[in-house]
């Protein structure tokens, strides 16, 4: 039995190596792409505002898309080489996060005013959010870390948020290592997750972000230099400060779901109101100006008045990750 079983096993191994090797060669010669050729189209012309977006192919939304600027109804590609899933830009520096050529790895690059990458890094997870402070000093990236077989419980998914020095393009801090304060006392738990940084437009050291733990999604305010954050209130995800720094647009979770409504809160009082967009939006909203939000539903880019009145309006087709370009 031993020798017969052994012979059959050897024959099977040979057959598997031939078939498996053959299939890999066939796949290697076949088509594969991680970047789409799609390009966005302008659906409306906003008053004196230029918007940077990343093109999306609605049938394969996870493919990297080119970076375009939409201005006065005209769509222009910024660089032949720049392609991402998430883009942000301010004051001569940008962040481009996307899937690596392998299809299972993710990379980010920091690029300059000429859209040339000055620094690239491997991402430890799936691109989620990107921001650059208005003065171009700091950058922030959030990635989803999931599928680590080792990171089974207690968190089904986790996020990591990195702070970047935009001049060198290198990572300077990981938000998970900041000290957290809640109600005047130190606050810590095993399932802390940070996501969605927004910088104060007038003081880039000051930022807001979301701290998730248990069923809570706290709005935190922090200091980059001080390496600390403090909890302000619950129920705020992906905050985004208005250009005048007085309001924060955010995702408000519909209880016990993974669906969100866009809300706007007053920084002074922390009271909030919903905007007119009725659909669930999973995006870190951007401010076109002090009265208008711009955001994506994953396929197209829309605007909506921040005050709660009016209605959502289509701005750009086949685009996500809108960035209002200010001078």
């Amino acid at each position: 039995m031993d020798s017969r079983g052994g012979k059959i096993t050897v024959a099977l191994v040979v057959a598997c190596v031939l078939f498996g090797g053959g299939y890999v060669v066939y796949a290697a010669l076949g088509p594969s792409q991680t970047t789409t050729d799609a390009s966005p189209t302008a659906a409306a012309v906003p008053a004196d505002a230029a918007v940077m977006v990343r093109a999306v192919d609605p049938s394969s939304p996870a493919l990297n898309g080119g970076v375009f600027v939409v201005e006065d109804g005209k769509v222009r590609r910024r660089s032949k080489d720049l392609a991402c899933e998430r883009v942000y830009y301010a004051a001569g520096g940008g962040i481009c996060m996307g899937v690596a050529p392998s299809g299972v790895d993710y990379t980010a690059s920091v690029f300059d005013a000429d859209y040339q990458p000055i620094h690239s890094m491997r991402l430890t997870g799936l691109p989620s959010r990107a921001r650059v402070s208005a003065d171009g000093r700091y950058g922030a990236m959030t990635v989803f870390v999931s599928g680590d077989a080792y990171l089974s419980s207690p968190t089904a998914f986790s996020t990591r948020t990195y702070l970047l020095d935009m001049k060198s393009g290198e990572q300077i801090e990981q938000l998970e290592q900041f000290d957290v304060e809640k109600d005047g006392a130190p606050f810590d738990a095993v399932d802390f997750n940070f996501w969605g940084i927004t910088f104060d437009p007038t003081d880039s050291d000051r930022f807001f972000a979301t701290l998730g733990t248990g069923d809570h999604h706290y709005l935190v305010e922090g200091s980059v230099e001080g390496r600390e954050v403090k909890v302000l209130r619950d129920g705020v995800e992906c905050p985004s400060l208005s250009p005048d720094g007085k309001q924060i647009a955010f995702k408000s979770r519909i209880e016990d779901t993974n669906r969100w409504r866009l809300h706007v809160l007053d920084v002074a009082t922390l009271a909030d109101h919903p905007v007119a967009e009725k659909r669930s939006i999973d995006d870190q909203a951007e401010w076109l100006d002090d009265d208008t939000l711009v955001y994506s539903d994953g396929e197209n880019v829309y605007t909506v008045p921040a005050g709660g009145s009016g209605e959502a309006a289509l701005l750009i087709r086949d685009a996500t990750s809108p960035v209002a370009l200010r001078n």
Binding site: D2, Y23, G30, S102, S146, S152, F157, D191
Partner: protein
């Protein structure tokens, strides 16, 4: 008894005797190791790329993946006890294990054929987990029944080392394929299926279903007999000790989270933590198993748990250099090498031949429940009193658990030697 074994050994084919003579590991254990190695390559290949496949090719959100991943982790526990008892009752360890390996292989085939919906993948992941739950206890029983009682720890060490080689190779092979054929997940799934089929084939063709210590006579065991193990004078103390030790040990996942929080290292270094731990485990599993057979399983088990104190100490340090990190990870690998396999080997020595799989199934379930309690408790403590204090509490609990379990384990080992 000795003469019977010796004459049987003479009947074995010479080839295998010479090849395995140095380690003196039964051929069946090597073959079961090969089955696990191939199966682990297969499942780790898929585990490595599945989240990206879901998100990248199917457009699922990471939250959906979290749900798929978390839903079925608990399912395996109950299955283990049932499959263990069933394989003892039918005296068909190989066939029941084969069913588990077969289910996982079938899951891989389904992935190639129909893995293009998020729901379909959820079902496939569930089938895979159930398959793993079914095969573990009868497989470990086969390893135990294939080995002489004084060589059990070496056998489990060899099996676990081979198993972890597979777990290391899987991601490497998956990334290698995607390097050659970017974003072609189908190629990864096809090759993974082939490894799963090969693993099943090696089990069917090369593993002896009735090894040397397998019971051949007597009535098949009743469920009552399996349940009586919970009160068995040698196995019950072992279960109690295993439960206590697993509750007092911080799970590796939480240790990594803690290290990440404590140590300021480049994010790119993070995956290397697992790799270093796995290499340490792989290198130490066999020598530690041999040591346990020579000096006794209980001292090695306790020394293995003591290695956790090094890990805890590093978690308590305010600034950790790369040297301390390396020491910590080597210690963590050593802890794994000296605990799970050695504990199973001790169970194999303590348990009667006719209830090997039942007992091992119960042990695995008790240990995984203990780990669950440990994780929940550690998370709650971390929240209540902070990471450092939680580590201190767990350090003290581990010392206590070791002190209490030492006499229990020694009693288990002594009665095993008597019987």
């Amino acid at each position: 008894m000795y003469q019977v074994e010796a004459s049987k050994a003479l009947l074995k084919p010479r080839l295998w005797r010479s090849r395995t003579a140095r380690l003196r590991v039964p051929r069946n254990v090597i073959m079961l190791g090969a089955v696990s190695l191939l199966t682990d390559i297969s499942s780790e290949m898929v585990a490595t790329v599945l989240p990206m496949y879901l998100i990248f090719s199917l457009g699922a959100s990471p939250l959906v993946f979290g749900a798929i991943d978390g839903t079925y982790r608990g399912a395996a526990a109950l299955v283990q006890v049932l499959s263990g008892f069933t394989s003892d009752r039918w005296r068909r360890h190989k066939e029941v294990a084969g069913l588990g390996y077969g289910l996982s292989a079938l899951g891989k085939v389904a992935l190639v054929a129909a893995g293009n919906t998020v729901g379909g993948i959820g079902a496939i992941v569930a089938v895979d987990r159930v398959g793993k739950g079914i095969r573990t206890a009868p497989r470990d029983a086969l390893i135990s029944l294939s080995s002489a009682k004084d060589k059990l720890a070496t056998s489990f060490g060899v099996h676990r080392a081979m198993d972890s080689v597979g777990a290391m190779l899987g991601p490497l092979i998956a990334f290698g394929i995607l390097f050659l054929a970017p974003a072609r997940f189908d190629a990864v799934f096809v090759v993974s299926t082939l490894f799963a089929v090969l693993g099943l084939a090696v089990l069917i063709l090369n593993v002896e279903g009735k090894p040397r210590r397998a019971p051949r006579e007597g009535a098949p065991p009743q469920l009552r007999a399996a349940l009586a193990l919970l009160k068995d004078r040698s196995f019950a103390p072992l279960l109690l000790a295993a439960a206590g030790l697993s509750i007092a040990s911080v799970s590796d996942a939480l240790i990594y989270v803690g290290l990440q929080r404590t140590i300021d290292f480049e994010p790119a270094v993070f995956p290397l933590l697992y790799v270093m731990t796995a290499i340490s485990f792989m290198a130490l599993a066999i020598p530690v198993g041999q040591l346990a057979d020579r000096v006794g399983k209980v001292p090695v088990l306790l020394a293995g748990h003591a290695l956790l104190f090094i890990v805890y100490a590093v978690l308590l340090m305010t600034s950790v250099g790369y040297l301390a990190l390396a020491v910590c990870l080597v210690a963590l690998g050593g802890y794994f090498a000296a605990t799970e396999g050695v504990m199973t080997a001790l169970a194999g020595a303590v348990l009667p031949e006719r209830l090997q799989a039942s007992g091992i199934g119960i042990l695995i379930t008790v240990v995984s429940l203990g780990r669950l309690v440990s994780s929940v408790a550690f998370g709650a403590l971390w929240f209540a009193i902070g990471l450092q204090s939680a580590v201190l509490v767990f350090g003290a609990s581990l010392a206590l658990a070791m002190a209490l379990s030492a006499p229990l384990l020694l009693r288990a080992q002594r009665t095993a030697a008597d019987g």
